[in-house]
Protein backbone atom coordinates (compact mmCIF):
# COMPACT_ATOMS: atom_id res chain seq x y z
CA UNK A 1 0.00 0.00 0.00
CA UNK A 2 1.27 3.50 -0.86
CA UNK A 3 1.10 6.02 1.95
CA UNK A 4 1.31 9.72 1.11
CA UNK A 5 1.90 12.72 3.37
CA UNK A 6 1.25 16.38 2.68
CA UNK A 7 2.11 19.77 4.20
CA UNK A 8 3.43 19.60 7.78
CA UNK A 9 2.63 15.90 8.04
CA UNK A 10 5.07 15.32 5.18
CA UNK A 11 7.64 17.55 6.88
CA UNK A 12 7.40 15.72 10.20
CA UNK A 13 7.58 12.27 8.66
CA UNK A 14 10.32 13.35 6.28
CA UNK A 15 9.10 11.72 3.07
CA UNK A 16 6.24 12.59 0.71
CA UNK A 17 5.39 8.97 -0.07
CA UNK A 18 6.40 5.45 0.92
CA UNK A 19 5.25 1.89 0.43
CA UNK A 20 4.09 0.28 3.66
CA UNK A 21 3.53 -3.41 4.32
CA UNK A 22 0.88 -3.68 6.94
CA UNK A 23 -1.90 -5.98 8.03
CA UNK A 24 -3.82 -3.11 9.64
CA UNK A 25 -7.57 -3.49 9.26
CA UNK A 26 -8.53 0.19 9.55
CA UNK A 27 -6.85 3.55 9.04
CA UNK A 28 -6.66 3.90 12.84
CA UNK A 29 -4.83 0.59 13.08
CA UNK A 30 -2.33 1.76 10.48
CA UNK A 31 -1.77 5.01 12.38
CA UNK A 32 -1.08 3.03 15.59
CA UNK A 33 1.24 0.67 13.78
CA UNK A 34 3.27 3.48 12.21
CA UNK A 35 3.35 5.50 15.46
CA UNK A 36 4.81 2.48 17.25
CA UNK A 37 7.54 2.09 14.64
CA UNK A 38 9.32 5.45 14.92
CA UNK A 39 9.10 8.69 16.85
CA UNK A 40 8.59 10.83 13.71
CA UNK A 41 5.30 9.01 13.02
CA UNK A 42 4.22 9.34 16.64
CA UNK A 43 4.91 13.08 16.37
CA UNK A 44 3.00 13.48 13.13
CA UNK A 45 0.02 11.45 14.36
CA UNK A 46 -0.08 12.77 17.92
CA UNK A 47 -3.33 14.72 17.43
CA UNK A 48 -5.68 12.98 15.01
CA UNK A 49 -8.26 15.75 15.31
CA UNK A 50 -5.77 17.95 13.41
CA UNK A 51 -5.47 15.40 10.60
CA UNK A 52 -7.51 14.42 7.58
CA UNK A 53 -7.25 11.21 5.59
CA UNK A 54 -7.96 10.24 2.00
CA UNK A 55 -8.41 6.61 0.97
CA UNK A 56 -7.78 5.89 -2.71
CA UNK A 57 -7.90 9.63 -3.38
CA UNK A 58 -11.25 10.26 -1.73
CA UNK A 59 -11.76 11.99 1.61
CA UNK A 60 -12.47 9.37 4.25
CA UNK A 61 -12.10 8.87 8.00
CA UNK A 62 -10.01 6.94 10.50
CA UNK A 63 -12.58 4.16 10.85
CA UNK A 64 -12.34 3.26 7.15
CA UNK A 65 -11.19 -0.27 6.40
CA UNK A 66 -8.10 -0.86 4.30
CA UNK A 67 -9.30 -3.97 2.49
CA UNK A 68 -8.25 -3.65 -1.17
CA UNK A 69 -6.97 -0.07 -0.67
CA UNK A 70 -3.97 0.91 -2.80
CA UNK A 71 -3.31 4.48 -1.65
CA UNK A 72 -3.82 6.28 1.61
CA UNK A 73 -2.93 9.91 2.34
CA UNK A 74 -2.57 11.89 5.58
CA UNK A 75 -2.66 15.67 5.72
CA UNK A 76 -3.81 18.66 7.77
CA UNK A 77 -7.14 20.42 7.09
CA UNK A 78 -7.08 21.81 3.56
CA UNK A 79 -6.53 25.50 2.85
CA UNK A 80 -7.30 25.99 -0.81
CA UNK A 81 -9.17 28.81 -2.48
Amino acid sequence: MDVLYFAWVRERIGVPRETVDSSAVTVSDLVKELSAREERYAMAFSDLSALRVAVDQELSDFDATLDGVREIAFFPPMTGG
Binding site: P77, G80, G81
Partner: protein, 146 residues
Protein backbone atom coordinates in the same frame (compact mmCIF):
# COMPACT_ATOMS: atom_id res chain seq x y z
CA UNK B 1 -18.20 22.40 -17.00
CA UNK B 2 -14.45 22.77 -16.85
CA UNK B 3 -11.92 22.17 -14.07
CA UNK B 4 -8.28 23.20 -14.49
CA UNK B 5 -5.38 22.65 -12.07
CA UNK B 6 -2.15 24.26 -13.18
CA UNK B 7 1.08 25.82 -12.02
CA UNK B 8 1.08 28.61 -14.62
CA UNK B 9 -0.73 31.91 -14.14
CA UNK B 10 -4.13 32.18 -15.82
CA UNK B 11 -5.54 35.21 -17.61
CA UNK B 12 -8.51 36.16 -15.44
CA UNK B 13 -9.93 38.73 -17.87
CA UNK B 14 -9.75 36.36 -20.83
CA UNK B 15 -11.18 33.46 -18.81
CA UNK B 16 -14.03 35.54 -17.41
CA UNK B 17 -14.82 37.02 -20.80
CA UNK B 18 -14.62 33.66 -22.57
CA UNK B 19 -16.91 32.13 -19.97
CA UNK B 20 -19.55 34.88 -20.28
CA UNK B 21 -19.43 35.58 -23.99
CA UNK B 22 -21.95 34.21 -26.47
CA UNK B 23 -24.48 32.93 -23.96
CA UNK B 24 -28.11 33.19 -25.12
CA UNK B 25 -29.91 31.69 -22.15
CA UNK B 26 -27.82 32.58 -19.10
CA UNK B 27 -28.85 35.94 -17.74
CA UNK B 28 -26.42 35.83 -14.81
CA UNK B 29 -22.68 35.24 -14.60
CA UNK B 30 -20.83 35.29 -11.27
CA UNK B 31 -17.07 35.03 -10.89
CA UNK B 32 -14.92 34.76 -7.80
CA UNK B 33 -11.17 35.32 -7.85
CA UNK B 34 -8.77 34.64 -5.00
CA UNK B 35 -5.67 36.81 -4.79
CA UNK B 36 -2.52 36.36 -2.67
CA UNK B 37 -2.76 38.99 0.08
CA UNK B 38 0.19 40.57 1.80
CA UNK B 39 0.69 39.57 5.47
CA UNK B 40 2.24 41.15 8.55
CA UNK B 41 5.99 41.11 8.11
CA UNK B 42 5.73 41.22 4.32
CA UNK B 43 4.99 38.13 2.26
CA UNK B 44 7.98 36.93 0.26
CA UNK B 45 6.07 34.12 -1.35
CA UNK B 46 3.17 31.74 -0.98
CA UNK B 47 3.67 28.09 -1.80
CA UNK B 48 0.67 25.95 -2.65
CA UNK B 49 1.10 22.21 -2.30
CA UNK B 50 -1.53 19.87 -3.70
CA UNK B 51 -2.32 16.17 -3.98
CA UNK B 52 -1.75 15.69 -7.69
CA UNK B 53 -3.69 12.43 -8.02
CA UNK B 54 -6.73 13.68 -6.17
CA UNK B 55 -7.06 17.41 -6.88
CA UNK B 56 -8.89 17.36 -10.19
CA UNK B 57 -11.21 14.56 -9.08
CA UNK B 58 -12.08 16.48 -5.90
CA UNK B 59 -12.76 19.71 -7.80
CA UNK B 60 -14.83 17.89 -10.40
CA UNK B 61 -16.90 16.27 -7.67
CA UNK B 62 -17.53 19.68 -6.08
CA UNK B 63 -18.45 21.25 -9.44
CA UNK B 64 -20.76 18.34 -10.27
CA UNK B 65 -22.47 18.76 -6.94
CA UNK B 66 -23.02 22.46 -7.70
CA UNK B 67 -24.50 21.67 -11.12
CA UNK B 68 -26.81 19.11 -9.49
CA UNK B 69 -28.02 21.41 -6.73
CA UNK B 70 -28.55 24.61 -8.72
CA UNK B 71 -29.91 25.39 -12.17
CA UNK B 72 -26.54 26.09 -13.73
CA UNK B 73 -25.86 26.39 -17.42
CA UNK B 74 -22.11 26.13 -16.85
CA UNK B 75 -19.36 26.22 -14.23
CA UNK B 76 -15.62 26.82 -14.35
CA UNK B 77 -12.94 26.19 -11.70
CA UNK B 78 -9.27 27.10 -12.14
CA UNK B 79 -6.80 26.58 -9.29
CA UNK B 80 -3.04 27.11 -9.30
CA UNK B 81 -0.34 25.38 -7.28
CA UNK B 82 3.34 26.14 -6.83
CA UNK B 83 5.01 29.41 -5.89
CA UNK B 84 2.99 32.64 -5.96
CA UNK B 85 3.69 36.26 -5.02
CA UNK B 86 1.56 38.96 -3.41
CA UNK B 87 -1.11 40.10 -5.85
CA UNK B 88 -1.01 36.90 -7.90
CA UNK B 89 -4.31 35.24 -8.65
CA UNK B 90 -4.58 31.86 -6.93
CA UNK B 91 -7.82 30.60 -8.37
CA UNK B 92 -11.16 31.51 -9.86
CA UNK B 93 -14.61 30.05 -10.18
CA UNK B 94 -17.36 31.15 -12.56
CA UNK B 95 -21.02 30.17 -12.75
CA UNK B 96 -23.66 30.82 -15.41
CA UNK B 97 -27.37 30.56 -14.67
CA UNK B 98 -30.69 31.87 -15.89
CA UNK B 99 -31.18 33.94 -12.73
CA UNK B 100 -28.72 35.58 -10.37
CA UNK B 101 -29.73 33.70 -7.22
CA UNK B 102 -28.54 30.38 -8.64
CA UNK B 103 -25.34 31.90 -10.03
CA UNK B 104 -24.45 33.56 -6.70
CA UNK B 105 -25.32 30.62 -4.46
CA UNK B 106 -23.52 28.08 -6.64
CA UNK B 107 -20.38 30.26 -6.74
CA UNK B 108 -20.41 30.57 -2.94
CA UNK B 109 -20.96 26.84 -2.59
CA UNK B 110 -18.02 26.12 -4.92
CA UNK B 111 -15.80 28.44 -2.89
CA UNK B 112 -16.86 27.04 0.47
CA UNK B 113 -16.14 23.47 -0.58
CA UNK B 114 -13.01 24.27 -2.51
CA UNK B 115 -11.58 25.97 0.60
CA UNK B 116 -12.00 23.00 2.90
CA UNK B 117 -12.50 19.92 0.72
CA UNK B 118 -10.03 20.23 -2.17
CA UNK B 119 -6.50 18.99 -1.33
CA UNK B 120 -4.50 22.22 -1.35
CA UNK B 121 -2.24 23.50 1.42
CA UNK B 122 -0.82 27.01 1.58
CA UNK B 123 2.54 27.92 3.12
CA UNK B 124 3.52 31.53 3.70
CA UNK B 125 7.14 32.71 3.63
CA UNK B 126 7.99 36.06 5.24
CA UNK B 127 11.41 37.54 6.09
CA UNK B 128 11.45 35.87 9.50
CA UNK B 129 8.89 33.09 9.35
CA UNK B 130 7.81 30.13 7.26
CA UNK B 131 4.52 28.57 8.20
CA UNK B 132 1.59 26.53 6.95
CA UNK B 133 -1.63 28.52 6.82
CA UNK B 134 -4.08 27.26 9.45
CA UNK B 135 -7.56 26.28 8.36
CA UNK B 136 -10.05 28.84 9.69
CA UNK B 137 -12.89 27.62 11.85
CA UNK B 138 -15.28 29.85 9.94
CA UNK B 139 -14.35 28.08 6.69
CA UNK B 140 -15.39 24.77 8.19
CA UNK B 141 -18.53 26.38 9.61
CA UNK B 142 -19.36 27.80 6.17
CA UNK B 143 -20.01 24.26 4.89
CA UNK B 144 -22.91 23.80 7.28
CA UNK B 145 -25.24 26.12 5.46
CA UNK B 146 -25.33 23.92 2.34
Amino acid sequence: MRVVVQQEPFDFGAQADGFARGRQDSGAIVTFTGIVRDVDGGLQQMEIEHYAGMTEKALEAIANEAVTRWSLDDALVIHRHGVLKTGDMIMMVATAARHRKDAFEAAEFLMDFLKSRAPFWKREVTADNVGWVDARGEDEDALKRW
